[in-house]
């Protein structure tokens, strides 16, 4: 999506992070990150490993707790109140680097589990939605297999379908293609591209610069626990403002 063809309704802010800090014991991982995401925006976060980008998106659904600052998701502030946290998590889908499918459940059971238990949907409806999602990610014929019987790319597509089954307002992707063999990366990126075009609000941590160029509205560059630079893809790749960004880009684009 291009920033110029934004509709007026998509201008309100769905995620607001202000001065977010996090420590792992003495290690200061996040050093005052501030970021605002609008509805239907697609944000790509990149940066060297250890820069805190994964930790940052995990604070948005409170898989990691932040120790200072403020995070507001769809009008709800993340605090110690477990009810707020669960409510926010129901609105945020997350896709992990290691898929994290439930190995003891079939593909269909993986996808219907949360709608059945956290949304209390009737079984028929949950299964209908699950089958639609499997069609959407292109593997309806795998519904009754176990995750261990699928390829990595198929597993990650199931994981995306599982997250979408809760009909979330926001999708977080934590290096979704980093654990995949090269020939399977495309099938996952295709699904993500289609999702971005459909108007989903997305935050994607990835090293796939091709995907960033095509699908992102904004690219955010992380280093040493903070945002160094954020810009539109075109500007980001053509005229990086910071020296650190230029160095990073030269390293990942030359090979």
């Amino acid at each position: 999506m291009n920033p110029n063809d934004e509709t007026p309704s998509s201008t309100d802010e769905i995620i607001i992070c202000r001065d977010v800090h996090k420590w792992f014991d003495d290690f200061h991982v996040l050093r005052g990150v501030s970021l605002t995401v609008k509805r239907q925006e697609v944000i790509v976060i990149c940066g060297p490993s250890g820069s805190g980008k994964s930790t940052f998106i995990r604070t948005i659904n409170r898989l990691e707790e932040h120790q200072r600052g403020q995070i507001i998701v769809d009008g709800i502030e993340l605090t110690h109140d477990i009810r707020n946290i669960e409510a926010v998590r129901r609105e945020i889908g997350m896709v992990f680097q290691q898929f994290n499918l439930f190995p003891h459940l079939t593909v269909l059971q993986n996808i219907t589990l949360a709608p059945l238990w956290a949304r209390k949907w009737p079984k028929a409806r949950a299964e209908e939605v699950a089958m639609q999602l499997l069609e959407r990610v292109g593997i309806p014929e795998q519904a009754h297999k176990y995750p261990g019987q699928l390829s990595g790319g198929q597993q990650q597509r199931v994981a995306i379908a599982r997250a979408l089954a809760m009909q979330p307002k926001i999708m977080l992707f934590d290096e979704p293609t980093s654990a995949l063999d090269p020939e399977m990366i495309k099938e996952v990126l295709d699904v993500m591209r289609e999702l971005a075009q459909s108007g989903m609000t997305m935050i994607v941590v990835t090293h796939e610069m091709g995907f960033a160029k095509e699908a992102a509205d904004r690219i955010v560059f992380f280093d040493q626990g903070n945002i160094v630079e954020e810009n539109t893809p075109a500007e980001f790749f053509r005229n990086p403002r910071e020296e650190r960004t230029r160095l990073f880009l030269s390293q990942i684009l030359t090979h």
Partner: protein, 402 residues
């Protein structure tokens, strides 16, 4: 590759029985020697065991005390209650065999064959009367009936489960009796004995220690310091004390703490002791499984909006328990055999019956070999059934494959 199709050769077919023998038993000369030696050794051992069991052994203490081995001092005129319990079990196994198939079907068949064979065993009618034989013979029929009831609308997993639960309560009521019903006079639990008592102790111990053990394991990993502390203290205390001590504590010390008008039944106290003991070990087995669950599984469940209880129930426990099936079943088997220690608090379980039988007749005093072999065989049949069931369960759940 495709230009040389002939280069792809089918792997050689598995060798036939003769080649298998040659390859595995006779290939170099020293294997032939070993095979011959082992075969000779086996032949003499088996021949010795066979001739002893069939011709030399004197099985009279066993054949003359079948009732004692089955139910101890349970009043003979009330034994029909035990018979009805057996009927219920046969029926339920038939039903479960139809509904759950697999292992249950194997056990249903085994039960029908074993009880049928027992009914027709070539023994003097004074040792096993016509009435008892007919009672036993009804069991295969009830397995059959249960199997066919399984075809009807009752044949649903949850009804069968309910059936097992309800009939367990009914069985206990039958055994204890009710003062209000004239034809069901109370039978003091001190009279229960033999296989009946061994079974009761084991089944109650297993059924109660499993859920308690799971709760203790979860509690030990809790973030609430009080819960965690209690579980650690409980588990470590119980694991640090021998079962015999715990049995003594429950049977002698517990009554001292209770008010005078509260009397806990002797068998019940033994059951409580076994349960407490087994649940501490169960907790540690389950904890091993809990610790093997990758953190990503819990994160994925939380990210989907499941609460802590749902995450534990739907994601963590099914995977953790599946991993520790062998350890849990090992624990069950140990518990089954530990029931013999109940003799220490004056209960006449199977092994105690065996010794009582030996001492009951001066001519039988030297026949301990026969009697204890008989007891060992009974224990072996049941423990082997348990490990067989566990292997089938592992296969059905695809342990190590998914």
């Amino acid at each position: 590759m495709s230009s040389h199709p002939a280069a792809v050769v089918r792997p050689p077919a598995p060798p036939g029985p003769v080649r298998w023998l040659k390859k595995n038993l006779f290939s170099p000369w020293y294997n032939t020697v070993l095979t011959v030696l082992a075969a000779t050794f086996l032949f003499f051992v088996l021949k010795g065991v066979f001739t002893w069991v069939c011709f030399r052994a004197n099985w009279t203490p066993v054949t003359h005390s079948l009732r004692l081995f089955a139910a101890g001092q349970y009043p003979p005129e009330q034994l029909w209650r035990v018979g009805i319990i057996l009927w219920m079990i046969s029926f339920l196994f038939g039903l479960s065999g139809r509904v759950w198939r697999g292992t249950f079907m194997v056990f249903a068949r085994g039960l029908a064959i074993a009880l049928g064979a027992l009914a027709l065993i070539p023994l003097n009618l004074s040792l096993l009367g016509i009435g008892a034989r007919l009672w036993l013979l009804a069991n295969p029929a009830l397995v059959f009936v249960g199997y066919h009831v399984g075809h009807t609308r009752v044949g649903k997993g949850r009804w069968v489960l309910l059936g097992w639960g309800l009939s367990f309560v009914l069985m206990i009521l039958l055994l204890t009796g009710l003062p209000a019903i004239p034809w069901l006079p109370p039978v003091e639990s001190g009279l229960w004995g033999g296989l009946l008592l061994t079974f009761l102790l084991a089944v109650v111990g297993i059924a109660a220690s499993f859920p308690i053990g799971v709760l203790l394991a979860l509690g030990r990993r809790s973030t609430l310091p009080v819960v965690k502390g209690f579980c650690i203290v409980f588990i470590e205390t119980i694991r640090g004390v021998p079962l015999v001590t715990i049995l003594f504590m429950f049977s002698i010390i517990l009554p001292l703490f209770l008010p005078e008008n509260v009397r806990v039944d002797r068998v019940l106290r033994a059951m409580m002791a076994m349960t407490v003991f087994a649940s501490a070990y169960m907790a540690e087995n389950v904890r091993g499984g809990l610790q093997a669950i990758p953190r990503g599984q819990i994160e994925a469940a939380k990210a989907l909006g499941l609460n802590g209880f749902q995450t534990t129930l739907l994601i963590v426990l099914p995977q953790a328990l599946r991993m520790v099936i062998p350890a849990i079943v090992g624990q069950f088997i140990a518990l089954f055999m530990d029931t013999t220690l109940a003799y220490i608090v004056g209960l006449t379980e199977l092994l105690t019956v065996a010794r009582a039988v030996l001492q009951s007749n001066s001519e039988w005093l030297l026949l301990d070999m026969e009697v204890f072999l008989f007891i060992a065989a009974i224990f072996w049949v049941f423990t082997y059934s348990m490990s067989y069931a566990s292997r089938r369960l592992e296969m059905a759940l695809g342990v190590g494959k998914r």
